[in-house]
């Protein structure tokens, strides 16, 4: 499977995702933000970091970059798009995913391991997880508080477009286990066609048991399935 990781000035999880993709046998290319042509890709990843310093608003400037026009075109043709952390913020800024990521409820950067539940496993990204499987993933963000309007939130729930929800170690989804204040504990969502996934937790940080655990591996192997 061919993957492309878009590198913006200020991206800082680009190497991490590339390492994870290569470890799991993707043929990966790094694409500099000034490029205007995307190589043929089955998967495009928008990595974590602080694209363009996240000045103005997280992901706002990256959403206007040259290469993003190509990413939007590819997305509309059905290419798989994965936005992690800053990548999720960029996806909401481009409108490829609805809603917005506000500042965390405690108004502080939050870097820690959290538990999330794979709510929807009937899609390209999560088919190797069991439904409602609980994963321990790492988060590291200042703006991860997912917000959207009531109508869209209802649609997300009813049409099963939520990928991951923050929960306790035993799967309880409640305010106590909501690290950043996201509506309905949302940690990741799909677009309607489910070819685009945006998520705040970092699956690429969970592919090596010596470092953490391997809870992120199945997200990548699902794509190869």
């Amino acid at each position: 499977m061919n993957s492309s990781v878009i590198v913006f000035p200020g991206s800082n999880c680009d190497r991490d995702i590339a390492v994870a993709l290569e470890k799991l046998k993707f043929k990966n290319k790094m694409i500099w933000h000034k490029e205007t042509i995307l190589p043929k890709s089955d998967l495009i990843v928008l990595p974590g970091g602080f694209s363009y310093g996240d000045y103005l608003r997280s992901g706002a400037i990256a959403a206007k970059s040259n290469i993003l026009k190509e990413v939007v075109k590819a997305a509309n043709k059905g290419c798989l798009i994965l936005g992690i952390c800053n990548g999720f913020q960029i996806l909401t800024e481009t409108g490829l995913l609805k809603g917005a990521l506000l500042q965390n409820k405690n108004l502080k950067f939050l870097g820690k391991d959290v538990f999330v539940k794979a709510v929807n496993t009937d899609n390209k990204f999560c088919n190797k997880y069991r439904k409602n499987q609980i994963l321990k993933l790492n988060i590291a963000h200042n703006e991860g508080n997912y917000f959207t309007n009531a109508e869209h939130l209802k649609e997300l729930e009813e049409r099963n477009l939520i990928a991951f929800k923050y929960c306790s170690e035993d799967g309880v989804v409640n305010e106590e286990n909501n690290p950043n204040g996201s509506l309905n504990n949302i940690a990741g969502i799909f677009n309607e066609k489910k070819n685009i996934l945006g998520m705040m937790p970092h699956p690429e940080r969970m592919v090596d048991p010596i470092i953490t655990n391997d809870n992120g591996v199945n997200l990548f192997t699902s794509l190869l399935n």
């Binding site: 000035p9 200020g10 800082n12 999880c13 190497r15 991490d16 390492v19 994870a20 000034k34 974590g48 970091g49 602080f50 363009y52 310093g53 996240d54 000045y55 502080k108 950067f109 939050l110 870097g111 820690k112 790492n138 590291a140 200042n142 970092h202 690429e204 940080r205 090596d208 010596i210 470092i211 953490t212």
Partner: protein, 726 residues
Amino acid sequence: MKISNVIVERHGLKLDEYSKIKELLKREPNLLELGIFSAMWNEHCSYKSSRVHLKTLPVKGKAVIQGPGENAGVIDIGDEDAIIFKIESHNHPSFIEPYQGAATGVGGILRDVFTMGARPIALLNSLHFGSPDNSKTKSLLNGVVSGIGGYGNCIGVPTVSGETKFNSSYNENILVNAMAVGLAKKDKIFYSKAKGVDKSVVYVGSKTGRDGIHGASMASAEFDENSEEKKPTVQVGDPFTEKLLLEACLELMKDNSIISIQDMGAAGLTSSSVEMASKGELGIELNLEKVPCREENMSPYEMMLSESQERMLIILEDNKEKDAKEIFEKWDLAFVVIGKTTNTNNLTLKYKNEIVGEIPIDSLATKAPVYKREWIKTKLPEIESRLKDLKKIKLDEALIKILSSPNQSNKSWVTNQYDQMVMCDTVQQSGSNAAIIRIHNQEKSVALTVDSSANYCNAHPLTGGKQIVCESWRNLISVGAKPIAITNCLNFGNPEDPIVMGQFAECVMGIKEACEFLDYPVVSGNVSFYNGTNKKNIYPTPVIGVVGLIYHSKNKINHLLKKENNIILQIGKTFGHLHQSVFFDEIHSMRDGPPPEINLANEKNNGETILKLLDKKMLSSVHDVSAGGLLLALAEMSISSNYGLKIEKPKTLFNLIEYFFGEDQGRYIIEVESSNIDNVKKILKENNVFSEIIATVQKDNFEIIGEFKMHVKDLCTANNKWYNNY
């Protein structure tokens, strides 16, 4: 403009120093030249009070590639790899403007490391705040922690370890020390020494603004009630630009274009150009109208003294300009040739074709003043408080009180504001004895930690100096690492006060003695004097940052209890030394008497024996016994693992408070499976290491037989509440 005495003093120079300047120049300096002398001769840049003492430190060793004197120290970690690391203070700016002060402290130390060709792989910090009930502490804590996180998180280097301490001696002068650790190839290390005449001097990075003018001079003076007015001397950080600068520099370093490279840190363009020329015994000529400026009409004086961040000076090989420029343009960074090396041995400053300043390089560097300041030996303090005269307290009550005190509380409120995982090589995060970072794509790891013991150093600097070195050594041993080398950040009060100078001299002696004995060289460091306000000096606070090596990452060990019925042994002897202990401080507010003594031979033998046991995979967990003594160390092991412990009382006649809270040095706690216990005991005996069985691992309950029993959850609750309620 005629230079008056007032102008000289405003530049932080003494009148006799000014006379020396005139002597060296054989004329009066102009204002620009005076500014340059003040920037180079201040304490922060010249080490004029500390140099004679620092020279005594051991700086050589098998693993040392580069000791003090460069941007950072370099050590060999085997194969093709080198670790480049240094710690530096940003105390004064952080007190005035906590977010930016702390952030630019991180930015500055990162540049010191990547300017030598290393990709930064970890950040650490040591923070000392005033008493929590001091009105300024809360906002300083908030600002500093978010500033440190803000910079490291954005540039994408994990902040993996640190310490956050509170003590009223820092009420008006906090300490913010940041350490950066980078990884380079041994044969690709870049130095600041210029070579060759007529080579292009290139300015890269951010544009120069009016921020931070005279920052280094500010850092070389005490605070007073007007310190708030110094806010404009604090620099503003831009981690995004630093990330671009980092990537651009590392890209340029892949090829052989660079003769020498130096970051513009304290005293900006002045110190970087002088440093390069001085080391190369050359002259340097700068055309200041070419300096990229952020603001209009900047004078040569402002350009030379600005401490704008995220800038570097590079001397390039011939014919490499075009390729180098392309790299910096790709990253949208300024790249301008602003001068050249010369054979004049002068710093020559031109502005619009006119010479506006000319100073012999050696007068700024090698001929800068060096002082042998007067100093007084600190006597071993008398003992005033005796346990038998103090109000009795139960063991469990004291433990809970200590666990919930600001200094001993769980620090996740702080560390959760740091990205500890970016780069995906963090084997062990903060909250353990030392952080462990894997060398990318390899089996080996480095272990990293920072330590300080201001209470001990204040009571007796010589012992305190030895103690911190030993404590850092124990912390590395406790994660299974072979200690390699140290960097130090020496935070002290006013060196013109013989008592303070004595604290400095004796701390350095203590550090020297311990480092020599442990074969643990000092490869880089920084001195921060004048920490105090209105003649009130801070506690002497040397901070030690250390690097150790773990050959196989999968052999990592931590202090989490692993299995029910495992046996707990104490390594090293307990004598029950309570003076200068956490117990006396937190429970009785007593800070009299001497700190615990250090026995270097025991330290070395105990540590090396533990490494032998780890090599044979005979231990399940290891923890060092430090501040708070045995009981706090045992409680920490329970809290972090959720296992309980059944602890025995000492078999000999011992006061239980002294036994459980005494801070005797050179001790560890090890967890051993019962099937290994005979072998472990045998090896300990063969190596003449004192040990005794003190506890067994059990579920849920933390207890001392015959004294108290409580659920581990209650320990966690006590340990977790302070920050969240502050």
